[in-house]
């Protein structure tokens, strides 16, 4: 899933989240495949960005690497470190971040389904 400014959106890309206008009115359902006409129409309705399935646009911007995300997340757990429940949660989030980032690289337009975390082991730095 990726948030993309509308001027970088191209036909064939798929909405991961519905498009809702400023008045809260739904315009396009999630899962809609975008066409040139549709993108044009959304632009005219002043929609500035869309949330798309996969990671279709390389923006190079400030997107944080999974390692960075994990480092920041771990820091937030500092005060509760050693608590068995909180440690379990931290590990699960860490795995989730890794699986999610791997999936975005490998299968750009994959449907969001239940996670299969079984195959993921050996996080970097361990």
């Amino acid at each position: 899933m990726q948030r993309v400014p509308i001027n970088l959106v191209e036909p064939g890309m798929v909405l991961a989240k519905p498009v809702v206008n400023d008045a809260g009115m739904p315009l396009c359902a999630e899962g809609t495949e975008l066409t040139a006409v549709l993108i044009d129409r959304l632009k005219r309705m002043n929609i500035s960005q869309l949330i798309l399935k996969g990671h279709p646009v390389e923006m190079g911007g400030p997107a944080k690497s999974p390692e960075e995300q994990i480092r920041e997340m771990t820091a937030r757990f500092a005060r509760v470190q050693g608590d068995p429940i909180m440690d379990t949660i931290r590990e699960a989030i860490e795995k989730a971040i890794l699986v999610e980032s791997m999936e975005q690289q490998d299968e750009p337009a994959e449907q969001e389904g239940p996670a299969k975390a079984d195959g993921v082991q050996g996080e970097p730095g361990e």
Binding site: A23, G24, R76, M86, I89, I93, I97, V99
Partner: protein, 276 residues
């Protein structure tokens, strides 16, 4: 001084509650009448355009499981029920009062609502919409302190920041009660249903909830997870500890936690859509 006395003192110090749009008052009176219809409520909310836009935006968010399908307020009332609509209207109004400096709290509230929805649905709990709405309002007491007791608020922020202490501890020191106590009082003043009051009151202290324990536990856990995912961390960005009682009550140890956290990670993208 007991908690009740502290609250009474605070209530006296607050000259007037944050002014809510007249629609909210009318709505409160309206939903208590047994003859009211979804159409009546829809009409009333729609009379305030800004409010109805915010309400529609909120009800179309994923935590109500209706993302992008609701196009009118009366439709929303039918689908979500009066309790949820009342909560949504309240949060849309209250957060409007909030100043820009509290943008983090709004994001945190949204994040907690989204996570509550994800967890409730995952566990198959009944009325996930009400649980999400309670989550949306869980820190309402913080808004009141910020808006109506701003000197105390500054003092709390300073203590928490300088001494590296939890925000809640600083509140107890300055006010004698925490934002959950204040939120509880406020939500009773506003005539919210107990399904919403309980999670607001006990989100830090789920073990003491006299009932509705599963709902309280969801909001308690979602609050902590929102901090864990870094959604709108305030002056005190640390992850609060989850009680073993709530964790076990909901059967969390039996879940595929990685899958749940992935779902949450994806669902949280939506916070961006509701930024003030």
């Amino acid at each position: 001084m007991s908690k009740e006395q502290h609250i009474k003192t605070i209530a006296r110090r607050i000259q007037s509650l944050p002014t809510l749009p007249p629609v909210v008052k009318k709505l409160t009176a309206m939903v208590e009448s047994p003859e009211v219809t979804a159409k009546d409520v829809g009409k009333l909310i729609s009379s305030d355009q800004v409010l109805s836009a915010k309400v529609l935006k909120l009800v179309n968010s994923s935590f109500y499981g209706l993302s992008g399908k609701v196009s009118s307020i009366s439709h929303a009332v039918i689908l979500l029920g009066f309790n949820v609509i009342k909560g949504v209207v309240l949060s849309a109004s209250v957060f409007d009062i909030m100043e820009r400096s509290m943008v983090g709290l709004w994001e945190h509230s949204l994040g907690t609502a989204i996570i509550s929805g994800t967890i409730s649905r995952n566990l198959g709990l009944s009325e996930p919409e009400e649980i999400s709405t309670a989550a949306l309002l869980h820190d309402i007491g913080k808004v009141l302190v910020r808006v109506s007791l701003s000197e105390d608020y500054d003092c709390i922020v300073r203590i928490a920041g300088e001494q590296g202490r939890a925000f809640r501890e600083a509140e107890l020191e300055v006010l004698g009660v925490d934002h959950a106590d204040i939120g509880s009082w406020l939500s009773r003043e506003w005539g919210l249903p107990r399904q919403l009051i309980a999670p607001i009151t006990y989100h830090h202290d789920p073990g003491n909830a006299p009932g509705l324990q599963d709902r309280v536990a969801v909001v308690h856990i979602a609050d902590s997870l929102a901090h864990a995912f870094g959604v709108g961390g305030g002056p005190d960005g640390g992850v609060p500890r989850i009680t073993e009682l709530s964790w076990n009550l909901l059967g969390m140890p039996g879940l595929d936690l990685t899958a749940l956290m992935r779902k949450i990670l994806v669902d949280l993208e939506e916070v961006e859509n509701h930024k003030l």
